[in-house]
Amino acid sequence: AQSVAQPEDQVNVAEGNPLTVKCTYSVSGNPYLFWYVQYPNRGLQFLLKYITGDNLVKGSYGFEAEFNKSQTSFHLKKPSALVSDSALYFCAVRDPMIKAAGNKLTFGGGTRVLVKP
């Protein structure tokens, strides 16, 4: 079964400092990995994905994530955080070995990011 772990419930960072949100996964085959962000009273907004190819993927709002197969990780990063990045971040995995028609995402528990001015 596929699973995702986000070991930190909350990450606090000062504005302008680098931001990292950790994610590890478990799937039977090669994973498809996604990051979503949720602002208060809003839906989940897609940030970026890793499917194949370059391990470093770039996404919206200056975010990037690095796929590390040996560590089964897909950490989200931003070189210089903004106060407006304060939100709830979810890592998700899809196992393409599971029947394709399902396409379900399995989410981590979420990490709340608080960027202080």
């Binding site: 809003r42 839906g43 989940l44 897609f46 194949t52 899809r94 029947k99 028609a101 379900k104």
Partner: protein, 114 residues
């Protein structure tokens, strides 16, 4: 930019009542999903729908739940007899097709069962 829309944004219902949550997926998408998020907990998969039938469902999606695509645009989730523990944010999502495409989520319907 195309988006998934959900109505209502908030629904309060009495225990035992039926509720229907509505979604309009992105028009050229083929896969449709419902997820839920109980307050303070993770986002959980409920069901996926493709080619006018359920393609996968979780253990949460029991006989009290059903989904329907009554016309070419709407996608609904029905809970026949709501329980207190059904209180959650329900998200509809759609994706274009193959597994490497991202799902786009609606803003959610907050269901409160009293």
């Amino acid at each position: 930019e195309p988006e998934v829309t959900q109505t209502p944004s908030h629904q309060v219902t009495q225990m035992g009542q039926e509720v229907i949550l509505r979604c309009v997926p992105i028009s050229n998408h083929l896969y449709f999903y419902w997820y839920r998020q109980i307050l303070g907990q993770k986002v959980e998969f409920l069901v996926s729908f493709y080619n006018n039938e359920i393609s996968e469902k979780s253990e949460i999606f029991d006989d009290q739940f059903s989904v329907e695509r009554p016309d070419g645009s709407n996608f609904t989730l029905k809970i026949r007899s709501t329980k207190l523990e059904d209180s959650a944010m329900y998200f509809c999502a759609s994706s274009g097709g193959i597994a490497n495409t991202e799902a786009f989520f609606g803003q959610g319907t907050r269901l409160t069962v009293v």
